[in-house]
């Protein structure tokens, strides 16, 4: 996967709940047109992922992947959103549980004293907390922006203040464009 250069991706939207094999008319058409471009199917790919900002991942399991002569890829399949932060947290929790189980097996009922239990609990709660909350609370420079404007954006879009400031800056103080970029 890592060695592939993805230069162009045509993504087909599949309606919610539809079987991947049941193709809509539009998709059929699109496939026929795309396949005329001289594509070769790449076999053996089980998963295609797109990584977005903030560790958000769009994943397509069991995709149909085609490669064009020019090296662009066309991927068919149902994209699902995956949150990496969540997966990290889950993985950490699972590891923690496995460690605890292993320790319990090794030492029998020895570690049942209060200290080791509190230590375990602390470790668990730390592992839980450290995963999320990385993106938002960074210090942001609000110079040149009207704090009233920022508050309006936060109110309208329910994003963090930092994100509102960033959007407002990106759009050079343009309120409507900033809100649009945060909501669409």
């Amino acid at each position: 996967m890592a060695s592939e250069k993805i230069e162009e991706i045509v993504e087909e939207q599949i309606p919610d709940g539809a079987e991947v094999h049941v193709l809509s008319k539009n998709e059929k058409k699109a496939r026929q047109m795309i396949l005329k471009l001289g594509l070769k199917q790449v076999k053996g790919i089980t998963r295609v992922t797109f990584r977005k900002k903030g560790n958000f991942i769009l994943a397509i399991d069991n995709p149909e992947v085609y490669r064009s002569v020019a090296g662009s890829y066309v991927v068919f399949g149902e994209a699902k959103v995956e949150d990496l932060n969540k997966r990290y947290a889950e993985a950490a929790a699972a590891q923690e549980a496995a460690q605890q189980a292993a320790a319990a097996v090794k030492e029998g009922d020895a570690p049942k004293d209060p200290e080791s239990i509190t230590a375990d609990l602390q470790a668990a709660s730390l592992a839980d907390k450290s995963a999320p909350a990385e993106d938002d609370d960074e210090e942001v420079d609000e110079t040149g922006l009207d704090s009233g404007d920022i508050e309006i954006i936060v109110e309208q879009t329910n994003v963090s203040r930092a994100k509102a400031v960033k959007a407002l800056k990106e759009h050079n103080g343009d309120m409507v464009n900033a809100i649009m970029s945060l909501t669409s």
Binding site: L37, A70, I152, D174
Partner: protein, 148 residues
């Protein structure tokens, strides 16, 4: 048609992409309308350059100095040959400053009405700003917020 023989000169425009600008215009319209519904227009700032835009537009369009002048705008006036020339002059002053100044945008021809089929005209973003900022300053859009 393979990728290698693709010729941009003879290719058709992809219809879906052509439609994208309309999608954007409608999104912009909805966003702006939501803003007006939650904040009185007279308290709303649209861009960094609101004051400059107003100053310039009043120089070029003295008829906008009174609330009546911007409450209703006529599409025919704006898009007549003379009207276009005046606007072009004004647009030039901001083309480097205002983001998306020439994007297609929907404008209500009458500030006392909602966006509807007949009262909505198609203008460029900067014309929208000029007229809507003036309407907001005159308090002509405050009713939208009170209605809710």
């Amino acid at each position: 048609m393979s990728l290698n023989t693709f010729d941009a000169e003879t290719a058709d425009n992809l219809e879906d992409i052509e439609k994208q600008f309309a999608v954007k215009a409608v999104q912009q319209m909805e966003t702006y309308w939501n803003l007006l519904q939650s904040i009185p227009g007279s308290k709303l700032k649209l861009t960094k350059y609101d004051d400059e835009i107003i100053e310039e537009v009043l120089k070029d369009f003295p008829e906008f100095a009174s609330p009546e002048g911007v409450a209703k705008v006529s599409e025919d006036d704006m898009k007549s040959a003379g009207g276009k020339a005046r606007w072009r002059n004004f647009l030039k002053k901001f083309e480097d400053k205002v983001q998306d100044y020439n994007f297609g945008t929907l404008l209500r021809s009458d500030a006392s009405k909602e966006y509807d089929q007949h009262g909505t005209i198609f203008v460029v973003r900067l014309q929208f700003y000029a007229i809507e900022i003036l309407r907001n300053r005159y308090g002509l859009n405050d009713w939208v917020c009170q209605k809710k």
